[in-house]
């Protein structure tokens, strides 16, 4: 354990580290998603009741999982930011929000595309769908709150509190199909109950989830670099990195 990990809580040390990690995460993400899609769309068997339309699960479920997972991670960073007064923590929270919102939207969109052929409706107001829609609004709220307050420290705190409060919705989304009668079916894969899917289907779904996760890492790291440059542009350490050479104006 010769590495001083705390060193990377300083934006000027984190910035080059993130830069080095991004290509690796990108490569792994591309590989996992490519193999996952191949197995999911071409190798996995047809479903006994839904036919081919079930294959949207390979995008839908990983996207929905990531939407909830990223929200918890974002709230964690916001909590760390408030507890430790660490500016990089808030920057990470800020960097996560758009990707989380994108996955939430993707989950809702693929859900609608799946709901029409199987249930017979694009959208129903059941507990699962409604709570996931609320999650999208929460991501929007976190982002809006940050941009609507000019003072960065206050913006961080306000959106951080909002993010933390919203965490209660994540278990509601997850357990909604258990707690209430919903049109949405129960969990096919759970920590305790094992899997109710054929093994090839499960492999494809887990590969896609891993791919989406690695994609999130790559995108969030590169967005965090932008956030660092933007926020620390007045500090001397990144003067050379961010600002272009002064051009002589005549």
């Amino acid at each position: 354990m010769g590495i001083n990990w705390l060193k990377y809580s300083a934006p000027q040390a984190f910035y080059p580290l993130a830069g080095k990690l991004i290509p690796w995460f990108s490569i792994v993400a591309a590989l996992a998603i490519a193999v996952g899609l191949y197995i999911g769309l071409l190798v996995a068997p047809t479903d006994f009741q839904q036919g081919e339309s079930y294959r949207i699960i390979f995008v839908h479920v990983p996207a929905a999982w990531m939407s909830m997972f990223l929200y918890v991670v974002m709230a964690l960073w916001a909590g760390f930011g408030m507890g430790l007064n660490a500016r990089l923590s808030f920057m990470m929270a800020q960097a996560i929000a758009p990707t989380g919102a994108m996955f939430t939207f993707l989950a809702l969109l693929t859900g609608a595309m799946w709901g029409k052929p199987t249930w017979g409706a694009w959208w129903v107001w059941d507990a699962r769908l409604t709570s996931e829609l609320i999650l999208l609004f929460q991501y929007a709220g976190v982002m809006l709150l940050r941009t609507s307050i000019d003072d960065l420290r206050r913006a961080d705190r306000a959106s951080g509190v909002f993010a933390l409060v919203g965490v209660v919705n994540v278990p509601i989304i997850y357990f909604s199909v258990k707690w209430w009668n919903t049109l949405h079916q129960g969990a096919s894969v759970s920590m305790t109950g094992g899997s109710k899917m054929a093994a090839t289907m499960l492999t494809a779904m887990l590969l896609m989830t891993f791919g989406f996760w690695m994609y999130s890492m790559a995108v969030i790291l590169s967005r965090s670099r932008c956030v660092i440059l933007e926020r620390e542009q007045l500090l001397s350490w990144n003067k050379s990195a961010s600002t272009p050479e002064p051009v002589e104006v005549r």
Partner: protein
């Protein structure tokens, strides 16, 4: 206690209070958050009278009949304890099948029939290749026959 520990303490306490408040609210709203009522709730009169609601359960085996116009269908929704006859005029979703889940929106009329204005198919969380599903159904049927012919086998 350092100020850092204090801050984390506040955040933790806030989350706990929030969690308890949410649990209480959800508990209070429990009955209003259901997407559909079960046939048992219908027969015990727990459903709203004179206005539209949803009913959910299984389509009873061999209960589906079609009228001459080809659009009006009759079937029975059951939760294996109680049964509710349903009438619907319209196109059924592809996954609508006897022995499978269904959610119908509509109103209860005087003779106890549920007149549906919308029928949605509710599928379960099992994903299997057709051959495996067939093999499992066969094994289950064989097992049920061996056990007792009068036992009702409820699909999970």
């Amino acid at each position: 206690m350092t100020s850092r520990q204090k801050r984390f303490g506040f955040i933790g306490l806030g989350l706990v209070v929030l969690g308890v408040a949410t649990a209480l609210i959800l508990n209070a709203f429990q009955s209003n958050l259901v997407f559909f009522f079960t046939p048992t709730q219908v027969s015990s009169g727990e459903v709203p009278k004179g206005r539209s609601f949803r009913i959910g359960g299984m389509v009873e085996d061999r209960s589906l009949t079609r009228e001459g116009d080809g659009l009006t269908v009759h079937f029975v929704v059951t939760d294996t304890a109680k049964r509710v006859p349903v009438t619907y005029k319209g196109i059924l979703p592809d996954l609508f099948k006897e022995g499978k889940g269904v959610v119908a929106q509509g109103q209860l009329v005087a003779d106890g029939t549920f007149v549906a204005s919308e029928v949605l198919a509710k599928h379960d969380e099992n994903y299997l290749p057709p051959e495996a599903a067939e093999a499992m159904a066969k094994a289950k049927a064989a097992g049920a026959q061996a056990q007792s012919s009068s036992t009702l086998v409820v699909q999970p």
